[in-house]
Symmetry: C2
Subunit: 349 residues, 2 copies
């Protein structure tokens, strides 16, 4: 299992995903602010992993608190939650994890527990979020494996792998599930500009698992499908609206459209924590725009002229009508999503 | 006018398009072999520019010939033509230019001209190819300007600009034509991985002309269209088959599909020299595959893990049904292309 993120005695430790695949470096965050910065600067990324990191960041921040009275401690807790919420706007898992930590805090506080007891509760809750995420990924993998063709040539976009979660992955969980089910699996990884999560992260973690992987630029997905080289597409998600519209890494929408044109099933794999019934449709999902330099520079190399204007949205929205199914830890949900996704949560409660 | 390529006394001189936009360096090719290498390594690229470069390369190579008898000179000539033909397989302008030089050679030789006279003829012919290319681009620009919306927000892919031709450009010729016609024009340039002709070349030459330009990664075209920010798409071409299927830089196909989905007209701009009536449809166009390193590395930065498998086709084929019109120096041709393109040539003959 890849060590995406772990809680150690005095720190939250993450593999630095900006340095992969060339360097395997770990970042030790010793404060909540350091965890927040790590999320913002994409040391760690991927919707489920961001949620887990925020939970650990809150637990760590409160563990470090010098407050002795619960009132001061509570004020610090909510400030820490705000710090985490301000890191990235699109992945709903982040807000879900923060809310869950708030509920745990409220339960402990109303039960009259001491500051030290609450600190323990928060650590236990973060660990639960972490462990449940891995368990969800494994369940997603098992459900997803059922719809993967026997001789699978799978295209994926970005990295929805072990590195995007607490472990195992969502879209790559489906890949791993299919491999574990004994299917023949070859993966094509869109490099995924501008941050190159596909070339850098997906290829890296699949090659570590000895899964047949070919890197292409994002521009090549259409030609690949045109040549019959893909028979299944699976991607992760950053936020799924109540009607099934799915925000995921920029470029996902074009992949979905190409898949429809070529009659290739396009699946989204995500835990229920990525589904946001409070967002009616994709038009309401906030889309983060990131710095121009992510586009104009790669490493030390300048790609665009000095002063070039850049537009750099980090996500796009794939309309639900292009999605064959949403693979979750509770099974695969299909259109009409407004009904099936609501039922998914009802079954859970 | 940008100095894409020029014949000087003892050399063919080209701006090194691999170094743009950071450095403005010129490469002096003193032999035909050096010109061939410059085409192969993409010092110069773009279908029309490749044709012009090959013509100049042949003229230069034969100018350097030490042969005194026409027979030895003819043998060298055909060897030089082969050298040029072996550089890149997809752009048909290359083969067209070589054929034209062969016809000129044959005319001079059968007229009993001397080696020195033939050398002059070849230089004059190359200059004619060069000048006609610029004239074609200007005519393409004027025809294209008529179909550009008054308040144009134009998406283009790769670089079909002054740098891809002897000057002025095909797709960017249409942009320039629209600007000259007094239209409001803003351009979005797909960066165009892996070689980044959009970020590096299109942005550079449009910014030099003070044309409003925004760089996006290829992944962002769908989101851009979804937000209503594009109302016209124009791209160049490397080879247009008799039925209108168009080979152009990898990724063009997805742009065309996205444009159709959003009801945005998608035009191809190219001189008749890019149209190949001898190729029935897109499936017969040879598609060049280039080295993995173009994908795995940018400058000194490694993007994919050591040993990662890569697929790197340089072009894809956009089916004719996605193309609103083909803008040429003889006007705009529309479906059914099998008929209209044939007529374009008949009118020319």
């Amino acid at each position: 299992m890849l060590p995406t993120i772990a809680r150690e005695s005095d720190a939250v430790v993450m593999i630095d995903q900006r340095k992969l695949p060339v360097e395997e470096v770990y970042v030790r965050c010793r404060t909540a602010a350091e965890v927040a910065r790590a999320i913002k600067t994409m040391v760690i990324r991927g919707a489920p992993a961001i949620g887990v990191a925020a939970a650990w960041g809150i637990a760590l921040g409160m563990r470090n608190s010098k407050a002795t009275g619960t009132q001061k401690f509570a004020a610090e807790f909510f400030k820490t939650c705000e710090l985490m919420a301000a890191t990235r706007p699109t992945a709903v898992n982040l807000f879900w994890a923060i809310e869950r930590m708030k509920r745990r805090f409220a339960a402990a506080a109303t039960a009259g527990e001491s500051v030290d007891q609450i600190k323990d509760r928060l650590d236990v809750e973060a660990q639960a979020i972490h462990d449940e995420d891995v368990a969800s990924c494994r369940a997603i993998g098992a459900f997803g494996a059922e719809v993967v063709p026997g001789d699978a040539r799978i295209l994926t976009h970005c990295n929805a792998g072990a590195l995007a979660t607490a472990g195992y992955g969502t879209a790559l969980g489906v890949v791993r599930g299919a491999v574990e089910a004994g299917k023949q699996v070859a993966v094509f990884a869109d490099e995924t500009r501008p941050f190159l999560q596909g070339a850098r992260l997906t290829a890296w973690e699949l090659m570590r698992d000895n899964i047949d992987t070919t890197v292409i630029t994002d521009n090549m997905a259409g030609a690949l499908m045109g040549q019959g080289k893909v028979n299944f597409v699976v991607v992760g998600a950053d936020r799924i609206a109540a009607n099934g519209d799915t925000a995921n890494k920029i470029g996902t929408y074009a992949v979905a459209l190409l898949a429809r044109e070529h009659g290739i099933p396009f699946y989204v794999a995500a835990p229920l924590t990525t589904i946001d019934l409070g967002t009616a449709d994709g038009s309401q999902i906030p889309i983060e725009e990131r710095a121009a330099k992510e586009v104009t520079h790669v490493g030390g190399t300048q790609l665009a002229p000095d002063g070039a204007r850049v537009w750099n949205p980090a996500f796009d929205v794939t309309p639900h009508r292009l999605i064959a199914g949403i693979i979750t830890e509770r099974g695969i949900f299909r259109a009409p999503y407004t009904e099936s996704l609501k039922e998914a949560f009802a079954a859970r409660a």
